[in-house]
Structures are given as structure tokens and as C-alpha cells.
């Protein structure tokens, strides 16, 4: 039942992310979430454990738990910003929305027939919830960094789903995915850096010259 524990942790981290204004704290939360999820492959498939899952766990932990946070902290230092100021959606409202999203995702997953050999019935809902949470972060926050975080959470949700439900995903594919995500974050980091240098702010709501 460690899987369920992990999933609960994921949910909590998501809610915390929705509620927190300090970028540093958010990054730490994402790091924690990454770490926890890193354990998922192993824990979810204890009965038929294979080297493939172990490697996957290690890779995940290394990437999501260590590399990304480091990159993001660097970006924060570059941008010399500590907190999100006046987001589109307030933090309390965000939390409420998060809870709603949780409900919706449970409802939606009720429609799907789960495979029998599944580690936990919560896998799919939580994955979906993470996706929603990530989207919410992207939509409701102004700081470019928050959007990168949102993207990561979304990615984590998909990862949860993949590891939990589609265990058969070839290893090569997963490596490719991890690599891509890494590059994505890297690229976004650079982009944030550039933007910050050009505009001396990273408020993406002020990036609205191109319209019509």
C-alpha cells in the first residue's frame, strides 16, 4: 500500500503548489514530488520487479528530484524574483479549484475500466488530477517560472499514469521521454533567462505584444 501513500503525497504536493506564492517553496515541492514519483516504478511493480524499473527510478529521481530543481533555482537567482505577485487566481480560490479538479478527475476515471493487475485504483485519478493541477498552474500564474513548474507537474501526472498503468512501455521510450522532458525544461530555463535579460522581468502576462 505504499503506492497509495505515494499517491496521497503527490496530491498533497499538488495542493501545496496551488496554494503557495513563494517560488522557492514551489520548486522544493516539485522536487519532493519528483523524488516520490521516482520511487513509484519500483514500488508499483514489487512483485515482478525488473532492472528496467530500477534504472527508471534512478533516472527519475536524478532528473526530477535533483537536476530540475537546480536548474530552476539558478533561473530564480538570475531573475532575482522570490514570489508570485497578484496571480490571475488567488491562492484560496486555487485550492478550492484544486479540490474540485480532484473530484472531477475521480469522476472521469470512473468511466474507464481499469486493468486488473493495477497497483492502486487511485493511480488514474491522481494522474489526471496532477495534469489538471499543472494546467491550472500554467493558466493561473504570471511568472514564467511558475509555468515551467506547472509543466513539470503536468509531466509528472502523465509519468504517474505511464508508470502505473502502462507498465509495458518499452524502456527506450521512457528514456526518450525523460530526455525530452529534460531538454524541455532546459530550453524553458534558457528562454526564461533570455526573457529576463531582454525584458528585465519574467511576467508572462506582459508578453502580449503579438496579437490579432
Amino acid at each position: 500500500m505504499t503506492t497509495n501513500l505515494i499517491l496521497v503525497l503527490v496530491v498533497l504536493t499538488n495542493l501545496k503548489l496551488l496554494g503557495s506564492s513563494r517560488l522557492g517553496a514551489s520548486i522544493r515541492m516539485v522536487a519532493l514530488q519528483g523524488m516520490v514519483l521516482g520511487l513509484l516504478p519500483v514500488l508499483a511493480h514489487l512483485q515482478n520487479l525488473s532492472v528496467h524499473f530500477v534504472l527508471l527510478s534512478l533516472g527519475t529521481i536524478a532528473l526530477k528530484g535533483i537536476v530540475f530543481p537546480w536548474l530552476l533555482f539558478r533561473a530564480v537567482r538570475e531573475a532575482e524574483v522570490a514570489r508570485e505577485i497578484e496571480p490571475y487566481v488567488g491562492y484560496v480560490a486555487s485550492l478550492v479549484a484544486g479540490v474540485l479538479a480532484l473530484g472531477v478527475s475521480f469522476g472521469m476515471c470512473a468511466r474507464l475500466t481499469m486493468p486488473e493487475n493495477i497497483a492502486s485504483p487511485w493511480l488514474a485519478p491522481v494522474a489526471l488530477f496532477s495534469i489538471f493541477a499543472g494546467l491550472f498552474l500554467i493558466v493561473a500564474r504570471k511568472r514564467a517560472l511558475n509555468q515551467v513548474l506547472g509543466f513539470l507537474v503536468l509531466e509528472n501526472g502523465i509519468y504517474t499514469f505511464g508508470v502505473g498503468i502502462v507498465a509495458e512501455t518499452p524502456f527506450l521510450v521512457e528514456l526518450g521521454v525523460l530526455l525530452d522532458v529534460f531538454v524541455a525544461v532546459f530550453v524553458m530555463g534558457i528562454a526564461v533567462y533570455h526573457i529576463n535579460r531582454e525584458f528585465d522581468h519574467i511576467e508572462t502576462d506582459r508578453l502580449d505584444r503579438l496579437k490579432g
Binding site: M108, L135, I138, V139, Q147, T204, L207, D208, L210, K211
Partner: protein
């Protein structure tokens, strides 16, 4: 058939060569004209054969395009339209050689001639194509070529505007044609015209839809009110020989297509006839009224094209009513008159546009009120223009009278034989034609009288000069043609026999009988015309003998006591048309700007009237503007906020998941 095909090949090669050899200052127009003439001659031969023999030439070869087949066929109907097309193309080309000369230093004439050749190819192909895809390609080719010809003087803002209006109108028309052809293809499972003829659509509702699609699609090319907006814009913009070609024959491809559509659609219900008659009366009367109110010669002529298309529509309407009531006389007279009018209009409208071009060429203006007294300076142009004016007014002994005579007669026949539902529309035809005729006389007495008679009204006329032979000959030829058809009417109408058999679908002998009576009557008409000529000759002699040896003096025009009249005292086009335009103000929406004379010794006074196209001003322009504003409303969707963009995606996803996931 081979001749016709090779004619097209000749045109294509000629066009390409023209594109290659012409440079700025190096003008090979004569070569282009030569090509067109050669091609026209080659094409006319089979057309005449078909028309006389009443048989059909066809040529099929595989064309590697889905649903496409290079299937062309020359049947009497196509041949009937083909002849004027080729004739006018050749004459306008000859005319063009001299007309375009004034541009040779400014730009390369290659593209013009290339497009000209393409336009001719397109028209010919439209007339002979028997495969829907081929037809559509030809149709679009025609539109494209003519678009580039219309925008020949694209330095001018107005010309660009005109080009836009023209291309939009014709292309939106094509959209309806697409629907038309595809629907037919779905019903018959084929893109082949002959298949469509063999399995006509008999389900009423469907046929009705097809009919409406055809009316809109082809009507926008032919220039039915209110789809005519592009004519008064495009014809003035285009070079005159192109206007002649477009107004003379290109818009007729719309009529041709409509008639083809009738062949596909089986027996018509009554309301088709009513519809066409309604269209005909509107187009005819409004067309001539707007023409009457114009001061720009070429705009005036453009509106007259609308009028004549209206007359043709009336003829077709009579024919349809005939088909519905099974009265062969009406079929023969209605369709016969319409078809004959197609040819006649090609002749005199071509002539008039060429004449207008000559005036423009000589004086550099199209403003009727700036002209006057040109007859003395341009005798040839004036004489030929007079021919055209009499012909288009539908007066004997020229060709215009003959075709209107047939339609009139058909209407009268129906009017005395049939009962209400048919007779009343026919009454409308009669009244409409009568009114159109009267107004046409008014309009062309104005055009001819103000331009060519009286005293010059402005400096433009002072340096006016008669055209050279290259421009003169085509006009003379066309004027001659007008007279010829007027006097050989019975023969010409006999040529219609096979065409009528084809499109009416009634037995040969019935057509034959009705056609015989028609030709007999026409012989009387011709006799009348000839007597008129003889009497005229006699009177001329009489007059000469009377005046012989008597004192024939000259003086100033009688000014009712006023001794020194000046040109500015003459009646102008505006004042000439004023009573009529005033009477029909509600329909025309003529705008007046008056600077009244004031004070005891008034120095300046001015009256300026302008009559913009009502449908364009009241219907289309507002429609497009409103659409534009309305569309601009969606601009906020693209507000530049990346967050909301992502939100769109999220919403789309959730909605689909909730809605579609069952």
C-alpha cells in the same frame, strides 16, 4: 474537331510566344492578332459545318486527373455560341493592335496578349467541354485570364478595386457552380455531361435546388440583377477591346451554361418560367434605367449589357413556359429569340464598345458631357456607332429588331392562347420589353446625340482624331454584320433548327413546322425592311431633285432669337436624361449636387448628378463592411496572453472528454 483543337493549340503557342518576344518598346501585337485570327478561322469552319449539318463532333481522350476526362463535343448549341465568340475575338484582336500601341513604350504587351489568348481558349473550352472537371477548369481559366485583362491598367486605384469586385463576384458564382455540378454528379454518379443528359433529374425538389444553384452560379457571370455588380465596374476598367470581348461574348457563357443546365433538368415547372421572366424584367428595366443615368460611356454600355441579358432571360422564360405548357410555338420563338439575341448582342455590343474605345482613344475621356460634335472629326466611328445604337435600340431594319421581334411575338402568341398563370407573366414580358425598347431609344439617342452631334463641349474634342484602319475595319465589319442579320433574318433563324431540336427535346418535325412559319413571317419583316430602304432611296432622289437649282444657305442654329449660342448652352447628357431619371429617382437613387445661380448677376452655377449602382451601394458594400466589423470582433480571441491560450487547449480537452467519452 481536330481543327478546333488545333485552333486552341495555336492560341496557346501564340500566347506563349507573345509572352516571350514582347519587351518594353518591342511590340509584336500584330503577331498576337494574327494568331487569334488564324485560330478563329480554324475554329469557325467546324462550327459552321455542325450548325448547317446539325450533327455532332466529339473528341475524347484520357486526362490524368481524378474524375477528369478530356471530353469535348461540338454540338449545334455549342457551335451557335462558338461562332460569335471566335468572330468577336478575332475582330477585337485586330482592333487591339492599334488600341494598345499607346502603351508599348510604357510596358511589355506580352502578358496582355497571353491573357487574351488564354481568355479565348477558356471561352472555347467552356463551350465545348463535356466533363464537369474540364468545364470548371476552363471556367476558372476564363475568369483568371479576364481578371488579369481587367486589371491591365493596375496603376489606377479604381481599376484595382474593379478587378477585386470582378474576381470576387465571379469566384463566388463558381462556388455555387461547384455545388451544382457536384450535386448532379452525386445523383447520376458521373461527371459526364452526356450521362447527365440521358438520366435527367425528375424529382421536383432536387431539380428546383439545381435550378436555383444554376441561376445564381451562371447568373453571376451573365450579369442578372442583382448579381450584375461587377459589370459596371469591370467593363470601364478593362481596355476597350477586352470590354467588347467580355461584354459581347464572355458573359454569354453564363447564358450558355444556363441553357445546358435546362437540358440536364428535364421538364420545367411553371415557377422556373416566372422566375426567369421576373429576373428578365428586373435586369432589363433597371439595367436600361441605370444606363440612362450614367455619364461614363463605358459604364453606360456595361449597364446595357445587363439590359440585354435581361431580354435574353425574358426569351428563355417564354421558352420555359412553352416547355411547361407543351406549346412548341413558344419554345421556338422564346428560345429562338433568346439565342438570336445572344448573337446580335455580341455584334452590336462589341461594335459599341469598340466605338467607345475609339472615342476614348481619340479624345482621352469617357465623360459624355465633355464630348460633342465628334461626328465631324471621327466620321467612321460615328457612322458605325450609329449603326450599333439603332441595332441595340431594337429598331428595324437592323438585327436587334429581329430577335426582340421573335420574343415579342412568342409572348403575344402565348398571350392570346394561354390562360392566366401563363398569360399574365407573358403580359409582363410584353410590357417589360416595350418599356425597355422605349428607354433604350432614349438612352442611345442621348449617347449618340451628345457625343457625336452638336458642338464640342470641351478641349478633349479639339485634338480628337479618327482611328486608323486597324481599329476602323473591325467596327465596319460588325456594323455590316448587324445589317446583314437584319436583312438575312430568315436564313439565320433557319440555322437555329438543330439547336432548338437539341435543347427543347421535342420532335424534329414539330420544330420544323414552327420554324417554317417563323421564317415565313420573318421574310415579310425583311420585305418591310427592304421596302423601307427602297422608299428611302426614292425620297433621297426626290429631295435632291427638289433642292436642285434652289438656294441652299447655311447659318447659325436658330437660337429663338438669341444670336450667338455657345457650346455650353447645349443640352447635356444629364439634362437630356433628367426627366426620366427624376421619374425613376426611387429606383435609381440618383444624387444631385446643385450650386444654384444667385444674386442679381449670377456668375457660377453648377449641377452634378451621379448614379452609383444601387445594389452595390445599398446591398453589397454595407454587407461586406458589416461582415468585416463583425469578423473583427473575434480579434480578442488572439489577445496575446499565453495563459489563456493554454486555457483554450485545456477547455477543449475537458469538453471533449466530458462530451465524447461514452
Amino acid at each position: 474537331m481536330i481543327l478546333l483543337l488545333s485552333a486552341m493549340v495555336v492560341l496557346l503557342c501564340g500566347g506563349i510566344i507573345m509572352l516571350l518576344v514582347n519587351r518594353v518598346g518591342k511590340n509584336y501585337s500584330w503577331l498576337g492578332a494574327f494568331t487569334v485570327v488564324v485560330a478563329a478561322v480554324m475554329g469557325c469552319i467546324p462550327a459552321v459545318e455542325v450548325l448547317v449539318g446539325g450533327f455532332t463532333l466529339e473528341f475524347r481522350c484520357a486526362w490524368s486527373v481524378p474524375f477528369g476526362e478530356f471530353f469535348v463535343e461540338l454540338d449545334p448549341l455549342s457551335a451557335w455560341f462558338l461562332l460569335p465568340t471566335l468572330l468577336l475575338s478575332a475582330l477585337s484582336a485586330i482592333y487591339g493592335v492599334e488600341y494598345l500601341r499607346s502603351w508599348e513604350e510604357k510596358r511589355s504587351l506580352g502578358p496582355v496578349w497571353f491573357c487574351y489568348c488564354l481568355l479565348v481558349i477558356g471561352m472555347v473550352l467552356v463551350l465545348v467541354a463535356r466533363n464537369a472537371v474540364l468545364f470548371l477548369v476552363a471556367w476558372e481559366l476564363m475568369a483568371l485570364a479576364s481578371f488579369f485583362l481587367v486589371t491591365f491598367e493596375h496603376e489606377l486605384e479604381s481599376v484595382r478595386e474593379a478587378g477585386w469586385i470582378y474576381f470576387v463576384a465571379t469566384h463566388l458564382g463558381t462556388a455555387f457552380l461547384l455545388a451544382f455540378f457536384l450535386l448532379l454528379a452525386r445523383e447520376t454518379g458521373s461527371m459526364d455531361f452526356n450521362v447527365w443528359v440521358n438520366q435527367r433529374i425528375h424529382t421536383q425538389g432536387l431539380a428546383g435546388i439545381l435550378f436555383c444553384l444554376a441561376i445564381i452560379g451562371f447568373g453571376s457571370k451573365a450579369g442578372f440583377m442583382p448579381l450584375h455588380v461587377w459589370l459596371p465596374e469591370a467593363h470601364p476598367a478593362a481596355p476597350s477591346h477586352v470590354s467588347a470581348l467580355m461584354s459581347g461574348v464572355m458573359i454569354k457563357t453564363g447564358i450558355y451554361g444556363l441553357i445546358r443546365a435546362f437540358i440536364f433538368l428535364g421538364t420545367p415547372p411553371l415557377w422556373w418560367g416566372w422566375g426567369l421572366i421576373a429576373i428578365g424584367v428586373t435586369s432589363g428595366v433597371l439595367g436600361v434605367l441605370f444606363a440612362l443615368a450614367q455619364h461614363d460611356l463605358k459604364r453606360l454600355l456595361a449597364y446595357h449589357s445587363v439590359e440585354n441579358i435581361g431580354i435574353i432571360a425574358l426569351g428563355l422564360g417564354v421558352g420555359l413556359l412553352g416547355m411547361n405548357t407543351g406549346a412548341p410555338a413558344l419554345i421556338v420563338l422564346g428560345f429562338g429569340g433568346a439565342l438570336l439575341h445572344v448573337v446580335n448582342h455580341a455584334l452590336f455590343k462589341g461594335l459599341l464598345f469598340l466605338g467607345a474605345g475609339a472615342v476614348l482613344h481619340g479624345t482621352g475621356t469617357r465623360e459624355i458631357d465633355d464630348l460633342g460634335g465628334l461626328l465631324k472629326r471621327m466620321p467612321w466611328t460615328a457612322a458605325t456607332f450609329l449603326f450599333g445604337a439603332v441595332a441595340i435600340s431594337g429598331l428595324p431594319p437592323l438585327n436587334g429588331f429581329v430577335s426582340e421581334f421573335l420574343i415579342f411575338w412568342g409572348a403575344f402568341k402565348g398571350g392570346i392562347l394561354t390562360s392566366g398563370p401563363v398569360a399574365v407573366p407573358l403580359l409582363a414580358v410584353i410590357a417589360g420589353l416595350a418599356l425597355i425598347g422605349g428607354l433604350a431609344v432614349a438612352c442611345f439617342t442621348k449617347a449618340f446625340g451628345i457625343i457625336f452631334l452638336g458642338e464640342p463641349r470641351s478641349e478633349h474634342v479639339a485634338h480628337a482624331h479618327e482611328t486608323g484602319w486597324a481599329m476602323r475595319l473591325p467596327m465596319l465589319a460588325l456594323a455590316f454584320g448587324c445589317g446583314l442579320i437584319g436583312l438575312l433574318a430568315p436564313l439565320v433563324v433557319r440555322g437555329l433548327r438543330s439547336v432548338l431540336e437539341e435543347l427543347s427535346g421535342i420532335q424534329r418535325d414539330v420544330v420544323g413546322i414552327n420554324l417554317a412559319t417563323t421564317t415565313n413571317t420573318l421574310t415579310f419583316v425583311v420585305i418591310g425592311a427592304l421596302t423601307f430602304l427602297l422608299v428611302t432611296a426614292a425620297l433621297v432622289l426626290l429631295r435632291r431633285s427638289l433642292l436642285a437649282g434652289r438656294k441652299v444657305g447655311t447659318s447659325a442654329t436658330w437660337g429663338c432669337g438669341y444670336a450667338r449660342p455657345t457650346p455650353r448652352m447645349q443640352y447635356t447628357a444629364s439634362s437630356f436624361a433628367q426627366p426620366l431619371t427624376d421619374l425613376f429617382r426611387p429606383l435609381l437613387g440618383t444624387r444631385k449636387r446643385i450650386v444654384p445661380p444667385n444674386g442679381l448677376f449670377p456668375v457660377g452655377a453648377a449641377l452634378k448628378t451621379e448614379t452609383p449602382d444601387l445594389t452595390h451601394e445599398e446591398m453589397y458594400r454595407p454587407m461586406f463592411e458589416r461582415a468585416n466589423d463583425w469578423l473583427s470582433q473575434v480579434r480578442w480571441l488572439q489577445h496575446g496572453k499565453v495563459q489563456l491560450y493554454v486555457l483554450y487547449i485545456a477547455i477543449t480537452l475537458v469538453v471533449l472528454l466530458v462530451w465524447k467519452l461514452r
